[in-house]
Symmetry: D2
Subunit: 182 residues, 4 copies
């Protein structure tokens, strides 16, 4: 039985704030404590802190990086997926997540939340973490209202709300939502 | 410290032979016994048997599937990467591998070995496993001779040869071989 | 000498407004009159109307679709690029553009503008066209301020402003901004 | 009405032979004379010569490159598609083609023919052009026998055979062969 996979997305290291780093570490810790796999874009800033938090709590971490070369990943990734496709890998991060947590974030975070929205993934944003999380929290990303990005008050609440939402989706007996490639 | 990631590639379930299934199971077992992470395309046939072999030996398995929906993966994948990009995900399988083992295989296996060749990954083919493995084993894929696909006699030898080659590459102090995305 | 390539992005047919359709048609017309190639996502709504406007003015149109099958493209595309990679093709639309014009738009438009921002493409949004164009016009997409999405009053101004900006970039003697794949 | 799109694939400039260059030029010329659009990977060697041949015969040329930056394309491309996804763009070249002509070629050509085979595209290889074309001509790429890579004697025959095959497919009333992305 596969474990739940939660993506943590947000600032890369060039623009990460101290507040976002702290929140990301806690989010990673909570994801690990809940027994979920932490998925991220594998680089610095929020991604690295979330991985570090997960590893400090015996979690499992997956980094999906743009490059061809695993050495670009942060050192807290247990598994490094070298996408080779550049920043279009943001779609893979969203596609791989059963749910998504945004901590601050710039334009890459916009893309990942948007991809998650297209795929109807449960998503939460940490209130006060800055950037895209604060801008998008509590909103739908277009008038189709496919799925709301829920604003949550803390890392702990983020994981709780997300797991509850993912559980409901699974109980609803969701089958293949997308056609296979043949 | 990240564990070595070995990709096992080969027939999907529609064309998998009994011989290839058996070889795949053993390859997965050996990958797990060696303490490496098993990476694959996440679907049936060789992919599924390799995952099953790894799980029976307490290994870790990663399936990188073409689809948006994790339920397409075989049930022995610990981690499912939903690439969302269709069969272009063959590049991700090759990019994510520190080394590649081919067991039989059709056209998808050609693509993965070819992508591995472009990325200069250590690669082996199991002798007698049929299809692409037997056709490409012992060969270079073009006149540039970037890396040879070594033919090996057994699953055990496959893992041994590959780990030795990967170890040598690491000792050679290989740094970033490809430019980062910025 | 390659012609300038301008991407027109915005609502797909399921959510396109009449105002956006009209604006898109005019944008396509102006792109063609200016002698530029029109690039788009190849589907309906703003994409189709922009192509129709361009064709009515003897322009050239390129549709870059998510699917494997050219028959999904709207009938005003001279050239259909079947990306095969699903909605990650939004990155290809942005990458292929020398400049981008947004007309209304939902979440896909967010992704394309965000990808354009990462690639530092000149971008404009048509004022009053709704959705993402109105939300993002006049803004930078994160605190790095890589490139502003300029708000413009009309299709004619959109093309004029964009061509001026593209011309300046070219005169600045920009060479390879990104490393090659080798 | 969209024109037929023919992909010409083969050696990049680092390994292109004089014979392949000549054949590629003729193939590009014949594609243009037949009124078809020439699609290619946009770089050097066979790609560049095919584009040059097409332009000398008033054809239209499309180059789909791995990079983010159009200046990597050869100068005979009318339209440059910057895929941004690296060599996974080989799938886009195959997906975009109504038919494919191989002239010599190394490992990239293997990938493009393999992708074309998965998508059941009509494909021909020029006899005596070397490399992958000579190796794969007259063959199926796996036991599923989805589509044969026909061996042809000359550039002229390549275009004739391909157009005939494409015409038959169209007359067979092929509709959407692949599910849409929604």
């Amino acid at each position: 039985m596969r474990r739940v996979q939660i993506a943590v997305i947000g600032y890369n290291k060039d623009s990460c704030t101290e507040a976002a780093r702290k929140a990301a570490y806690k989010v990673g810790s909570e994801v690990a404590k809940a027994g979920a796999v932490l998925v991220c874009g594998g680089l610095g800033g929020v991604m690295e802190e979330a991985c570090r938090g997960a590893k400090d709590n015996s979690g499992t971490t997956v980094g999906i990086i743009p490059e061809n070369d695993a050495s670009y990943a942060n050192k807290y990734c247990d598994i490094v997926v070298c996408s080779t496709i550049g920043f279009a890998r943001d779609f893979i991060v969203a596609g791989t997540a059963d749910g998504i947590i945004a901590v601050g974030g710039g334009v890459g975070t916009r893309i990942e939340l948007s991809a998650g929205y297209m795929l109807k993934k449960p998503m939460v944003a940490i209130k006060g973490s800055g950037g895209t999380a604060d801008e998008y929290g509590g909103k739908y990303l277009d008038e189709r209202k496919r799925v709301e990005i829920m604003m949550v008050a803390s890392p702990k609440e983020a994981v709780r709300v997300l797991l509850e939402k993912i559980g409901k989706n699974n109980n609803a007996g969701l089958g293949h939502d997308n056609p296979p490639h043949t």
